[in-house]
């Protein structure tokens, strides 16, 4: 025999999943939300994510090649996902230079400073967003109101959560503010002010179904987050409807859907076991409502996820899967 046989340990077969394929799956799942944001916010929503992805990929390539001096691994597609997710959390009228800074922080600080894919403790897109949120509060909170596809000049305004917070700060009853707030149906369909990707709950849910169908993520994290938010805010609403918004409002407003489905489920920064995922989801849900209700910022999802990201190593350490055979001897 002229050719040498290859010898390796079993298994000798491999599944079809690869990192780039999984990342592509996430991008596909984000497409409905992207389409919705283009529908609501116009052309800006088309090119800002593209630019963001471009910046992310370029920064990752440059940092890997010239700072870390290793083979750039942009092929894995994680930079694309980070760029896209970051763009989805920004208002559509964001200046390009701020976008560039945001992607640099997301990729450079959020991911590459820890060694690249797989090693970052915090969700890079959220690191970028929070950095921008704190550094450029004016630009970051002038949310354009959806005026339809054709309108060129968007009118800016507050998000429903911003309205709520502002109203409560002025001591108004939540019940009285309902007139100013969008209806639940409008929020479900995405007809409200907000960042590019977060407005259309229906589009995000479509993406969620796709992710589940492709088995890219499991149901644990999104479902526990949404359930916890619903139950916790619902409890407060039942106790005191005057000071608290309805649980449905909490579910549909702000970045909760985007955060629960796409941000919290980020592979690298979420727990490894189903049991751990449940703990993590409950933590994010509770923190979100707490920050929304009592915190200084109107929106709490981003901080809740980042805080729980910090707990992930601890969860991985102590929450173990149920081992097979870990039972009392039966019989």
């Amino acid at each position: 025999m002229d050719k040498l046989l290859t010898v390796s340990m079993s298994p000798h077969a491999h599944g079809r999943d690869t990192t780039p394929k999984l990342m592509l799956g996430v991008v596909i799942a984000l497409l409905p939300a992207w389409a919705a944001s283009v529908w609501f916010f116009g052309w800006g929503a088309l090119y800002v994510p593209v630019l963001s992805v471009l910046f992310s990929v370029i920064f990752e390539y440059l940092i890997a090649k010239y700072l870390l001096k290793k083979e750039p691994s942009i092929r894995d597609g994680s930079a694309v996902v980070t760029g896209l997710l970051l763009a989805f959390t920004l208002p559509v009228n964001i200046p390009v230079w701020i976008l560039a800074i945001g992607t640099l922080v997301a990729i450079g600080v959020g991911k590459m400073s820890f060694g690249g894919l797989g090693t970052n403790p915090f969700n890079p897109a959220l690191v970028g967003r929070v950095f921008l949120f704190i550094s450029f509060p004016v630009q970051m909170t002038s949310w354009p109101l959806p005026k339809g596809f054709a309108t060129a000049d968007a009118v800016t305004g507050a998000t429903p959560l911003g309205l709520l917070k502002e109203g409560m700060r002025q001591g108004e009853h939540v019940a009285n503010m309902v007139r100013e707030l969008p209806t639940n149906y409008d929020m479900f369909m995405g007809h409200m002010g907000g960042s590019m990707g977060e407005v259309a709950a229906v589009a995000l849910l479509l993406g969620f179904l796709y992710l589940l169908w492709r088995r890219i993520i499991t149901w644990h994290i999104p479902v526990t987050i949404l359930t916890t938010v619903f139950l916790f805010s619902g409890l407060m609403w039942l106790i005191n409807p005057a000071d608290n918004a309805s649980p449905v409002f909490h579910l549909l407003s702000g970045g909760l859907m985007l955060g629960a489905i796409f941000m919290a489920t980020d592979y690298v920064t979420s727990p490894m076991t189903p049991q751990g995922m449940v703990w993590y989801g409950v933590g994010i849900g509770l923190l979100t409502v707490i920050i929304r209700r009592w915190g200084a910022y109107p929106e709490g999802v981003q901080f809740a996820i980042l805080i729980m990201n910090a707990f992930v190593p601890l969860i991985n350490m102590y929450v173990k899967p149920k081992r097979f055979g870990e039972v009392k001897k039966n019989g």
Binding site: L4, L5, T6, V7, S8, M9
Partner: protein, 355 residues
């Protein structure tokens, strides 16, 4: 306004005092009484934390030294006799002198000498390949070439040779901590007595197969013919399991065995050239210092030559390995100084002769 400032200062001061008192009592209560000699012993240890002494690191070794009644079983291979003497001095004990040792690789199965019979794929560690099969050659004894020993070495004394697929030892850096011996799943690496000028003669094979089979695996395998055993005047060679073994403590470096080995599996390293270069076998010649002129020159000159050649080789190797430039420079400086001293020492007898 001033009231607020005043209250702040007072309350903070009180808090500070309270905290200090608590800390004082806590420190008293949980005070750990530690033998100060542990720190002293640790101070003289090399701080390599290599585990060569059998303890997890330098501190546990220091603790063991302080606890022990005698230093018989305790030895720091990195620091050697010098450091152990210091430890003994601190503890008022007697140090046991140990022969300095150095690691040698007992396999010559390079790509050239051993035909590859399969391709290994998978986790790049010898331990896993060893668990799977004989490796990409048929020899079940030989080096697997994935460098577990190199990974285990903390002293930059072991490197992989890309050309041969085998590791090689940089004698100057080797402290004989034994980490590589432990790491090698095939027990190829041996710690041998360090002779003058790092000269060494050893059977570079551990194949226990019968001669014919061994030759099939590898051109330079020991075939257990016992020719070296018969020729050795010092009874340093033992035969067992179709394999010759040279006891480094008994070997007097006469090199008779090297010449008679039919498969070139006995290596001589760092020796001056032989008088009749014809006798030098090709494989041995590669490792040995190339022949030079000046036959009539005394041993001193020969030694100088070896040192010079060695230095050059070292430089080449270091360039190849891309060791940080500063370390290289410092090592070289240190080495250079030592050699200068040697040279000075070597030239003095001549002067005496002259006077």
């Amino acid at each position: 306004m001033s009231d607020i400032v005043l209250y702040t200062v007072i309350s903070l001061t009180l808090l500070g005092i309270l905290a200090a008192v608590i800390l004082y009592f806590v420190a008293q209560k949980f005070k750990v009484v530690e033998d100060p000699r542990i720190d002293a012993v640790e101070e003289v240890l090399p701080h390599a934390n290599c585990g060569g002494c059998g303890y997890p690191g330098c501190r546990p070794f220091a603790e063991a030294c302080v606890k022990a009644d005698s230093l018989d079983d305790l030895f720091c291979p990195v620091g050697g006799n010098e450091v152990m003497a210091k430890v003994a001095e601190i503890l008022g004990l007697e140090a046991v002198e140990a022969e300095p040792r150095v690691a040698v690789i007992r396999c010559q199965g390079s790509y050239e000498h051993r035909p590859r019979t399969s391709r290994y794929e998978g986790a790049s560690t010898c331990a896993i390949e060893h668990a799977l099969y004989t490796g990409d050659t048929d020899c079940p004894y030989g080096c697997l070439g994935l460098g577990d020993c190199v990974a285990a070495c903390d002293f930059e004394a072991l490197f992989m040779d890309e050309k041969t697929g085998l590791p090689y030892v940089i004698d100057e850096n080797c402290v004989a901590c034994g980490a590589c011996v432990e790491a090698c799943p095939r027990d190829i690496i041996e710690l041998r007595k360090r002779n003058k000028r790092d000269r060494k003669i050893f059977v570079s094979c551990i194949n226990e197969e019968k001669g014919g089979v061994a030759r099939q695996y590898c051109k330079v395998a020991c075939i257990g013919c016992s020719k070296c055993f018969q020729v050795c005047p010092f009874d340093a060679i033992t035969m067992g399991n179709n394999l010759a073994f040279i006891d480094s403590d008994a070997c007097k470096l006469c090199r008779k065995c090297v010449v008679v080995c039919p498969t070139d599996s006995i290596l001589e390293i760092n020796f001056p050239p032989r008088k009749e270069p014809k006798e030098v076998k090709p494989a041995a010649a590669k490792k040995a210092v190339p022949p030079k002129q000046e036959k009539a020159a005394p041993a001193v000159a020969a030694a100088k030559e070896t040192v010079a050649v060695k230095e050059k080789e070292q430089e080449k190797e270091k360039k190849a390995e891309n060791i940080p430039a500063e370390e290289k420079a410092s090592e070289k400086d240190a080495g250079g100084e030592d050699e200068k001293k040697k040279e000075a020492g070597g030239s003095s007898p001549e002067e005496k002769k002259g006077s």
